[in-house]
């Protein structure tokens, strides 16, 4: 059992909000040490445990990187040089004297069990993390003179389970084989967003695809129009220039059936958070040989992938509809539609390693302490979802992801690469 508490202060926060008090504690019960467990030899270790803790976060960076975080609650003025012979100033951010800690409550019960001579080891965790007073740069009307306001707002729950199973399948003097399986399931829910419930955010002014923050849904939820059908090629200016080009616009559904396509026809299109993440690792040793591999997978996440804008030349004027097109009011640009919301699931053979340690007898003659030959590969198998267009379903744009309101945006991320390496390690 352990108990701790801390009092943290930060200059980033307002005069009455500088300090946060964060207690934590945990308790564990090793059942296998109890008398009633002494008369059996099936279960070697069995531990029940639960922890609870509160932590505070003061970690964030302004989307505008020219504003320092150290005094975030203060409205800062920045000098500007001009040709007018006087120095100017402008206000960089809105002051918020009530700006304070983001708080995280976490409760985490679980157990660890080892049985059959510790050949099978299982860890199970359930957790519920509740973030309160989220630090957010909320988009606000430009009529204020600012595009965002730094606030504490909202409550998000992350609830999930984690399971880790390690088995020692075989063990002898010459050989061993172990297997590890991990499974994680997490559910992200915005449980309270006060007056900002339904807040729509976008990434940038050039590609203003939308996210919605709606209570009962993940905090980052893709928002937009549902694709109906493609524009017939006869209405596209130059449909085959180049080959594989694709129109910028696409028919979308009139969800409320009022005959016009407008903002009321937008809906929820998906979430960037996976339902299941797993891995499977095997390690085998036989005499001087070593062999290991790891599979990883993620399922149920979507990504807002605008790579098609570039891969399929969607932005080109040649892909615009021509003046004969009868339905300009029924289409939207793809970046606002379900067309760019793509399944980010993948299964990867993340790595595979084969190694051979040369026998000592051979080495001593050559004057070498140890020598190892190996070959290893990364991503030798990589399976992506059928509707994913691009080269890296795991890639998420770092700029857009600065804000928790616009997570899961992908634009020209570096591809997943496959690599194979051979090597020799020699120690003299």
């Amino acid at each position: 059992m352990s108990v701790s508490a801390r009092l943290d202060g930060s200059s980033k926060f307002g005069p009455d909000r500088k300090f946060g008090f964060f207690p934590a504690g945990s308790i564990g019960w090793m059942l296998t040490e109890e008398a009633f467990m002494q008369d059996q030899n099936i279960v070697q270790d069995f531990k029940l445990r639960i922890s609870y803790g509160q932590t505070g976060s003061n970690s964030f960076t302004f989307i505008d990187s020219s504003i320092p975080e150290e005094y975030a609650h203060i409205g800062l003025l920045s000098p500007i040089a001009t040709g007018f012979g006087a120095t100017g100033i402008y206000q960089q951010n809105l002051a918020n004297a009530d700006f304070g800690w983001e708080k995280l409550d976490e409760i985490n019960p679980g157990f660890d069990i080892a049985f059959l001579d510790r050949k099978i080891n299982l860890s199970f965790d359930y957790y519920k993390r509740t973030s309160r007073d989220l630090i957010l740069e909320l988009p606000i009307p430009s009529a204020t003179g600012f595009s965002t306001a730094l606030v504490n707002k909202g409550e998000v729950e992350n609830e999930g389970v984690e399971l880790e199973l390690l088995t020692r399948n075989y063990l002898s003097k010459d050989a061993s084989w172990t297997t590890t399986v991990t499974l994680t399931h997490n559910k992200n829910t915005l449980t309270n967003f006060e007056s900002s419930n339904g807040q729509i955010s976008e990434v940038d002014d050039k590609r203003p695809a939308e996210w919605i923050a709606l209570e009962g849904r993940p905090i980052s939820t893709f928002y937009g129009y549902v694709v109906d059908k493609e524009i017939p090629l006869e209405y596209i200016n130059d449909p085959f220039s180049p080959i594989n080009a694709q129109s910028q616009d696409i028919y979308v559904r009139d969800l409320n059936g009022d005959g016009v396509i407008d903002g009321d026809d937008r809906t929820i299109l998906g979430s960037p958070y996976p339902d299941l993440i797993w891995s499977l690792t095997n390690n085998v040793k036989y005499k001087n040989f070593e062999f290991s591999f790891m599979f990883q997978g993620s399922h149920g996440a979507e990504v807002r992938n605008i790579s098609g804008q570039y891969i399929n030349n969607e932005f080109s004027g040649r892909q615009d509809y021509n003046s004969e097109f009868p339905d300009p009011g029924l289409v939207q640009q793809r970046i606002f539609t379900s067309d760019d919301i793509q399944d980010a699931s993948f299964i990867a053979l993340r790595n595979l390693n084969i190694a051979y340690n040369l026998p000592n007898s051979f080495l001593i003659k050559a004057g070498v302490q140890s020598a190892r030959l190996y070959v290893s590969g990364q991503n030798l198998i990589y399976l992506m979802a059928d509707d994913y267009i691009g080269y890296n379903p795991e890639g998420v744009d770092s700029g857009a992801s600065k804000s928790p309101l616009t997570y899961g945006y992908q634009r020209g991320t570096a591809p997943i690469y496959r690599s194979i390496s051979f090597g020799i390690n020699l120690d003299f």
């Binding site: 203060i74 003025l77 001009t82 120095t87 430009s142 009529a143 204020t144 003179g145 729509i200």
Partner: protein
């Protein structure tokens, strides 16, 4: 049981308080200034006035797309993306250039309201009045930009916060114009004249000319004529002998108000000049339309090399950069100049009619024509100046200075001219296109207070 607890509980209590000097956390930033205690002197208020001009520098950057490219004057080279939307008269509510234009103008307005809010800190009474005039001039110019582009817009005349929802909705254009007129009237009466203040800052002449344009837009011809007559009869401004010098000899006597930029300066340069060229990032914006080229009189030899880039006849010949770095251009943006004043004067005298024989109007029109050696109308009372002639002259003389669309609208010609233009180019025009869409981004964050203009989705 006790035994059990002894086994179970390995009991640690660890409470660590780090002794902490609170004042460490209450420091003021060393390299930056906090707004709370800043305004204590005339100089400090003036620094916020300079901030207004700094914000103004953003406004013209893509204004040409929202004005000239929506008229029959210019187009894009490639019709691509959000830029093609302007020329096609098919602007979407998500168009980023529109969202920026909205935000840039409200930034000017915010900075002007900041000055007005802290005005009392300026202890020098003359300066204080001047600062108030400059702030009101800047605020009025941006509201005039907004109201012509969007129609009804949020009207903010004080410092507001993120939750002041009562300011987020749209206010009728007539109320917005009331504020513009009262701001500019104050500026006319209280700003220094040209020459008594640095070039680039607002003057009483600039305010007078802008207020006249506002009155013309509202068909208040008498008020406009009175103001314009004072400018035409005054001695502060003159038409330069050489048309080219208006654009390439900066700070000249023809300029009533310009937004200055400096060559090769990351903070004080513009890049609209760059985007006007084939080398621009958007590969050629604000290109001349065939209709504009056809409207140039071949005899107009002094203006042609200034209207069309001699190195690429499809490009605009005004505002060609001389900077070393093509992206950091120093050409000033001309907001208001004397030729515009002359032509507005003739327009005010015409007072909504289709022609005038008034000699003062004809003389003003002739002054602009005569400067470039073009034919004039007799000033002996026998001549007639028609509205079409006046509009045609404005189109050529003031081309690419972002006047054309608002001239067409103000003079009641927009529907005829733009629907014919759209038909011959395969665009579709309706009167709804005369206002831009309210940016979707602003509607999204307005908590329901903002509505869209008709015809946009």
């Amino acid at each position: 049981m006790n035994n059990k607890i002894r086994y179970i509980a390995i009991f640690f209590v660890l409470i660590s308080f780090t002794a902490c000097d609170h004042s460490i956390l209450d420091q003021e930033p060393a390299s930056q200034i906090a707004i709370d205690n800043y305004f204590n002197s005339t100089e400090e208020v003036e620094s916020a006035v300079i901030g207004i001009y700094d914000a103004m520098q953003a406004v013209p950057q893509r204004e040409f797309a929202l004005t000239e490219m929506r008229s029959d004057n210019t187009r894009t080279k490639n019709s691509e993306g959000i830029w093609g939307e302007f020329q096609d008269l098919n602007v979407s509510a998500t168009n980023g250039a529109v969202a920026n234009y909205w935000a840039f103008n409200y930034d000017v307005i915010f900075r002007a309201n900041l000055v007005l809010n802290y005005l009392d800190a300026a202890t020098n009474p003359t300066k204080r009045t001047q600062f108030e005039g400059e702030a009101k001039f800047g605020r009025a110019l941006s509201y005039f930009n907004l109201v012509r582009a969007f129609g009804d817009v949020p009207l903010v005349d004080t410092i507001i916060g993120a939750d002041d929802i009562e300011y987020f909705g749209r206010i009728s254009t007539s109320e917005v114009y009331d504020l513009i007129i009262s701001d500019l009237a104050f500026a006319v009466n209280n700003l220094p004249a040209k020459g008594d203040i640095n070039f680039g800052r607002a003057t009483s002449g600039a305010a007078k000319g802008l207020l006249a344009k506002v009155h013309l837009t509202l068909n208040n011809y008498d008020e406009a004529e009175t103001l314009l007559e004072e400018l035409v009869d005054g001695t502060d401004y003159s038409l330069l002998p050489n048309y080219r010098d208006v654009f390439y000899s900066e700070g000249n006597d023809e300029i009533l108000f310009a937004i200055p930029y400096i060559d090769d300066n990351a903070n004080e340069s513009q890049d609209f000049s760059f985007e006007f060229t084939a080398g621009g990032v958007r590969s050629g914006l604000n290109y001349l339309t065939n209709e504009f080229i056809a409207a140039i009189d071949p005899a107009d030899t002094e203006r042609i090399p200034v209207l069309r880039n001699p190195l690429n006849q499809a490009e605009v010949g005004k505002f060609i950069t001389q900077s070393a770095d093509a992206r950091f251009c120093g050409n000033d943006w001309i907001v208001l100049r004397y030729a515009d004043i002359y032509l507005m004067y003739a327009e005010a005298i015409m007072a909504g009619g289709s022609s005038t024989q008034t000699v003062t109007a004809i003389r003003a029109y002739n002054a602009v024509r005569d400067r470039v050696g073009m034919s004039t109308i007799p000033e002996d009372g026998s001549g007639t100046l028609t509205l079409d002639e006046l509009l045609a002259e404005r189109r050529i003389e003031l081309a690419f200075e972002n006047h054309r669309l608002y001239d067409l609208i103000r003079l009641g010609k927009a529907t005829d001219v733009l629907s014919a233009f759209a038909t011959s180019n395969g665009y579709s025009f309706s009167n709804n296109d005369l206002l831009l869409p309210v940016p979707q981004r602003e509607i999204n964050v307005s908590k329901g207070a903002l509505s869209q203009n008709p015809g946009y989705n």
